[in-house]
Symmetry: C3
Subunit: 201 residues, 3 copies
């Protein structure tokens, strides 16, 4: 529980930071930035909860998430000149968040007996759709869909490995940990090596 | 009840008018205009109802809302050359609608025991997200997020006052009325004085 | 049942194809194309299911839909040089899908006792909102709203005929069939004759 709480917080913070920074580049006002920070951070989980009918969505019931995002937002605004220098830290948190949120989505799907493909889709939505809504609000073609460094692909690969590891009956905690590490590792490697998917011409 | 019904109708009408006019500027066809009028008018309440799981969403169950919007839409199309002249009337209704819909969202949150921050967020979503979806459909960065005259800020301030007044135990009807008036007044003042939030550079 | 299953599959395939082709024009990567294919195909039904509270949304519970879309997507990628030549076949399937999905939405509305206007809106949303989300993701003003060949109008007319035919007590199967044919026919005619709705200036 502790382990996940830490990574969950890390992911939420990382996504709130990346949303805020993306908004600053678009010259939003202070409130616009806060909305973007929220949406980037909780958007994926919100869409997942709506799709599976787990309503009210969780962040409405847990104000600690709301306070965490507001706190992160305020810190990001004040520290933003330094944050550019910790770009690598951001990628690190963002990739961890990607791993955690994918796992979370898969587990939510399993909890209501969805099959593998639906679970992997839910995991990918949880991890990636906050950024997708962020890009829609900022009036851009979502990063997720453009020819950029792979972002959803690590989630899908990690999801496939999750079910593969279930098949060979590894202990649950180990499967969870390895799934996060696989997604984390592939995303970091992709950023470093600038790996993207091909286009169709 | 009567008092709220009147303002609810006023808000719905005002938002339907503003959606129609925004669509005309983008050269949509007649059907596109009607969709935009609908979305601007009921979008915020729809997203609120989805987030709290109050489904089916209310306007599906109450065709008087649908007819009201269609009627407003038709009138707006025929009277649009005159409506520009009543720009101030529009701002008036829009600001009243902002106050009412914020109050409505807060009350919906309280009805399912959400805490203060979640209620204020719900109120702001109810009041502002119709316009946000309108702007997404029109392929613009939402007004709400840009450096424009404050729009969501009055809702948040009004929401904070609502809970402050609860604390000092004013009668409920007075709190409701004052909340609407605060939001209404701040928005009108902001339009008049051209008040906007700062950007972060 | 068989009759509807066939058209349902046809509609899903047609919408998956049209989404994929729209994505290729925007130079998305492979994963982006797959997301667009999905969203175009199941977006309308997903929004309908959310609005009426029929959650989890159906495609999460039925992986055959997911596999059908993935299969269609892969075929489209490999056959795309030939697909341009079968543009008419695409319009044919797309128009059939429009008819079927409108009927499906109306029936879902009736199943929860919604009245006529709400049912027709649900039908139109089921048929048209997949394409609307596709256009939002591709950062365009939705086709549905622009001055283009009518797309939602046939759905609305078909919906009105559906309830008219109910009134004169035709057998249900005949009503269903005629509703699909009316929508199908009007859309095909509109494409052929380049019929669009007027703008408001």
């Amino acid at each position: 529980m502790e382990f996940f709480t830490i990574i969950n917080i890390g992911g939420t913070i990382a996504f709130a930071i990346s949303g805020t920074l993306a908004g600053i580049r678009k010259q939003l006002d202070i409130f616009g930035l806060l909305v973007i920070a929220f949406v980037t951070s909780i958007g994926g989980g919100t869409i997942r909860d709506i799709l599976i009918g787990h309503l009210p969505v969780r962040w409405l019931l847990d104000s600690s998430v709301i306070l965490l995002i507001i706190g992160t937002f305020i810190l990001t605004i004040f520290l933003k000149n330094h944050i550019d220098k910790i770009d690598k830290t951001l990628t690190l948190f963002d990739s961890l968040g990607l791993g955690f949120f994918t796992l979370r989505g898969i587990q939510e799907g399993l909890a209501i007996q969805l099959d593998m493909s639906a679970c992997i889709i839910l995991g990918t939505i949880t991890a990636c759709f906050g950024g997708l809504i962020r890009d829609i609000l900022l009036n851009e073609i979502p990063y997720l869909l453009r020819k950029e460094v792979i972002y959803a692909t690590p989630c899908i690969i990690g999801g496939l490995f999750y079910f593969l590891m279930k098949q060979i009956a590894l202990p649950n905690e180990l499967i969870d940990l390895l799934t996060i590490l696989i997604i984390f590792g592939i995303r970091l490697l992709a950023v470093k090596k600038n790996i993207s998917l091909p286009r169709v011409d």
